[in-house]
Amino acid sequence: MSAEQAPELGVSFASQASYEPPVSLGPPALRVRHLWHRFGHFDVLRDVCFEVPQGEIFGFIGPNGAGKTTTIRIMATLLEPMAGRVEVDGIDVTVDPEAVRRVIGYMPDHAGVYERVTVREYLEFFADAFRVPSATVVDAVLELTDLGPLSDKLVATMSKGQKQRLQLARILLHDPKVLILDEPASDLDPRARIEMRNLLLELRSLGKTILLSSHILTELSDVCTSVGILERGRILVCGPIGEIGARLEAQRAAQAIGHAPPAAQAELVRGAQLQPGQVHPAQLQSGQAHPAQLQSGQVHPAQLHPGAVAGAPLQAQAPQPSIAVRRRVKLKILGQPEYVASLLRGGPGVVDIELSYGMAVVTIDGPEARIADMVAHLVRNNVGILGVEQERNELERIFLEVTRGEMQ
């Protein structure tokens, strides 16, 4: 921010919403704190706070004009925040943008490519521009993105999906830790989308942290480990999809028995600010945290004993109602659905069972391990299982529930 922008800013920190720093073991790959930005007299971003831990695929969602691209451009050092701090891999984007550029790979929405060069020439140029020390990097990236067979093809003759993969190859050349992708699957056909999704999962397995902005929620729920929903320049909710869904469910339940007025529902969720990769203390108390999360260190020791720790971060979380992760699981079965229902009804965590021909949709509270237990139980009772699938529309439900459809 330049000095001249200060008078128009009108930022009062006293009035900002309380932001509780997350409890996390490693340094976050992306850390956005009290971010404000203004275009003219219009606040595009208002006190945006969130974090993305290392190795996550973070879905950044919001209606058009919510401020997603502005946030992303600030992270990518293309805009300087007017207030607040954005850190990428611990480096402040304002203080050392050159260093940030070395650790990020940014793919803008509808980015262009040079048309009159071949795929290899295109990547060679960017390899030189990134000061990549070896030509073998280009080959490695071509292989990773499955562009090897197209290396001598002119970029102008490539399909949109191939060009999008080329863009992804470009931002991988300097081996960045963090990938920031703004609408990477826009305008792609279904096959190209699937390829892109698989590529993102592969990149995550290579240890990359990915921030992904998209409008296609089903696509995000397939790949994202956590999401942040932005509306009118404010983060409404942030955290793993299942946990946000469970929190909303719990709040609905509380509202039903008169604990929370309807208007406050979204505010409650906003206040939650669960960070990606974190498990809510309530889950741990009820034994609902997945063991994998404990092993991988995603659960901070402090969360194991929330009542024992004093201090702002955890005090805010303590009064939350006890919640559980609720899932809807589709079971394709051989045999009578009614028999399946009789086997499952009253089982641990089973909330509801809907039956249709050859299928049972089971609503179940608790960790994913319960699904495995449920399937094992059915198999032990000689029920043929043709398929098990978790319903993927949770993100859409969350999105519709927490956003108000307001445009900036």
Partner: protein, 578 residues
């Protein structure tokens, strides 16, 4: 290594001799050329229309030269034919370079923005300077190809006689120099534009009249003046400069007119275009001021030195006219710079401040950095002495030249040029003050520049209209005094035949401009300081809040560790059992 060329960068030489280091630099440049240049060359190589365009232009020029040569060969001597074809060829080549060069360059950066490839390049970490040089080299290579293709046609000229081979060679060198300036000009415009078409149209709209003006003034008009100095240089033809280098007699004038002046006229605009391009390619929060301020400091110094040297080299009879001419040129340059610096940010951004702190920047570097008040101070420091020195030297020469020193010399009073110089300098103080004031109150550079332009235009024109009406009513020369606020009133202060009230109003207005200028500057400074202080307060508040959050976080972690210590027993962090 360069991945594009496949070359490995040679290791640095053990020797620290300048020659070895220069060789190493050349080796690096060859092994690891500008990546943007190489990529653009690869792209250009696939442009199938280029050979056809080159062929068409060459054929067109050949036909014209053949036609001119054919028509003239029956009417005049062979050497005249050679001179005519020489002038025809290089005139065409000049316009080709002056129009095609900027158009080629205009496409360079604007097309990246239009094609949405710009951000990808920017995020590679390539510095704006490297990008600017790569784009320049690409466009210069393209226009260079045009010139090289035309070279055989141009070489025909000296076969007829009338011009020497060396003159043709020098003319080609100048063609490349004009190409350099044209490309730099096109690139500077392109760096500001977001649309290729817009950039090309704007570039052509500007380059056509500018090139016609330069051709007219620097061609036939200058050849007449040069012919008076060196009779061997033909009078009238537009392409006289290469002949002046070969036929002019070596001396002080030769050094000033053919070495010093061309160097200044090439280096200063080229440097300005380069800094403009780099500034436009840099982010809003990067240091976009230092380069331009360095250019201003050096160019002001060079222009002042040139003005003073030129005053000493012209005959005493012409000193008053040349002094006014030099002051007018200085005023135009000063006004131009005032508009350039009217876009200066109020203060350095956080990014720049952090960079200064990290690198331990000294006072001089900070002075040349972004900042409105610093820019205004630099303008006054850079050009007020230039006005004063030029006026003083002209007046001194007029006063100190004895009547008998040269034939037909009429002693002249220095009063006119002193009044002119004083008024010009005073008005400049006002322009700088007004520019700073408007910028301090505007939220962006463009409104400040527009307001400054409107203000200056109104001040320049309105007093003359009022004076004309007043003069018509009063039927007196004294009504001229009403026009005193206009900067053009300085011309009315020359000579000694006007009513005293005109001169008095001139002095009065000069004083008023100085007072107004400094007042506006003080107000602008106060406003800037307020803005910077508010910005720093906001920043400090934000930092404090973030620090508090960090402290709370640390306290929470510490408390957690303490709470777990007695219960946990075994210290954590050690290697567990396999």
């Amino acid at each position: 290594m360069s991945v594009q060329t496949g070359e490995t960068i040679p290791p640095a030489p053990a020797s620290q001799r300048a020659v070895d280091r220069a060789r190493h630099r050349i080796a690096i440049w060859r092994a690891d050329p500008n990546p943007i240049w190489i990529r653009e060359l690869r792209q250009s190589a696939r442009l199938t229309r280029t050979p056809f365009i080159l062929m068409a232009i060459t054929m067109f020029v050949t036909l014209i030269i053949a036609a001119v040569g054919g028509v003239l060969s029956d009417q005049v001597a062979s050497d005249k034919v050679g001179l005519a074809t020489f002038n025809t060829f290089f005139s065409i080549a000049f316009f080709l370079v002056a129009w095609v060069g900027p158009a080629l360059a205009a496409n360079a950066i604007a097309s990246e923005r239009e094609g949405r490839t710009w951000e990808a390049v920017l995020l590679t970490g390539l510095r704006p300077q490297v990008i600017a040089r790569g784009k320049f080299l690409a466009a210069f290579t393209a226009i260079g190809t045009y010139i090289v293709t035309l070279a055989p046609v141009g070489a025909l000229c000296f076969l007829f006689g009338g011009v020497q081979a060396l003159e043709v060679a020098i003319a080609f060198v100048f063609l490349f120099i004009f190409a350099l300036l044209s490309v730099a000009f096109g690139l500077a415009l392109s760096s500001k534009m977001a649309s290729s078409r817009g950039a090309i149209v704007l570039t052509l709209l500007l380059s056509v009249p500018i090139s016609l003006f330069v051709y007219g003034l620097g061609g036939p008009a200058m050849s007449t003046a040069i012919h008076r100095l060196w009779a061997a240089v033909p009078e009238g033809p537009p392409v006289w400069l290469p002949m002046a280098y070969v036929r002019g007699s070596f001396g002080f004038e030769y050094l000033v007119l053919l070495v010093g002046l061309p160097a200044i006229l090439v280096v200063l605009p080229a440097w300005f275009f380069y800094e403009t391009t780099v500034a436009n390619l840099s982010g809003n929060n990067d240091d976009r001021s230092s380069g331009m301020k360095h250019w201003f400091a050096v160019s002001s110094l060079l222009l002042t030195a040139t003005a003073v040297l030129a005053l000493y080299s012209v005959p005493a009879n012409d000193v008053d006219d040349f002094g006014v001419f030099a002051l007018v040129l200085l005023s135009m340059y000063a006004a131009f710079c005032a508009f350039v610096f009217a876009g200066e940010p109020v203060g350095p951004s956080r990014r720049v401040t952090m960079d200064w702190e990290r690198s331990g920047a000294g006072a001089i570097r900070r002075f040349f950095g972004p900042g409105l008040v610093r820019a205004a101070e630099l303008q006054l420091i850079g050009l007020l002495p230039a006005f004063a020195l030029t006026t003083f030297v002209a007046a001194y020469i007029l006063l100190s030249t004895p009547p008998s020193s040269m034939p037909y010399y009429t002693p002249k009073s220095p009063d006119g040029i002193i009044r002119f110089g004083s008024y010009a300098a005073s008005f400049y103080v006002f322009v700088v003050g007004a520019g700073a004031f408007l910028r301090a109150r505007a939220s962006a550079p463009t409104p400040a520049r527009v307001l400054l332009f409107v203000t200056m235009a109104a001040i320049a024109v309105v007093p003359w209209i009022v004076a004309a009406i007043g003069g018509a009513i009063a039927r007196s020369d004294e009504a001229l005094a009403v026009a005193s606020p206009s900067p053009f009133f300085a011309f009315a202060l020359l000579g000694d035949s006007k009513p005293d009230v005109v001169y008095l109003s001139g002095w009065g207005m000069s004083a008023l401009w100085v007072v107004l200028g400094f007042t506006l500057l003080v107000v602008a400074g106060r406003k800037s300081r307020e803005i910077v202080a508010k910005f720093e307060r906001t920043l400090a508040e934000a930092e404090q809040r973030l620090a508090e959050e960090d402290a709370a976080m640390e306290a929470a972690l510490l408390a957690e560790a303490e709470a777990r210590a007695p219960a946990g027993g075994e210290p954590q962090g050690g290697e567990g059992p396999a």
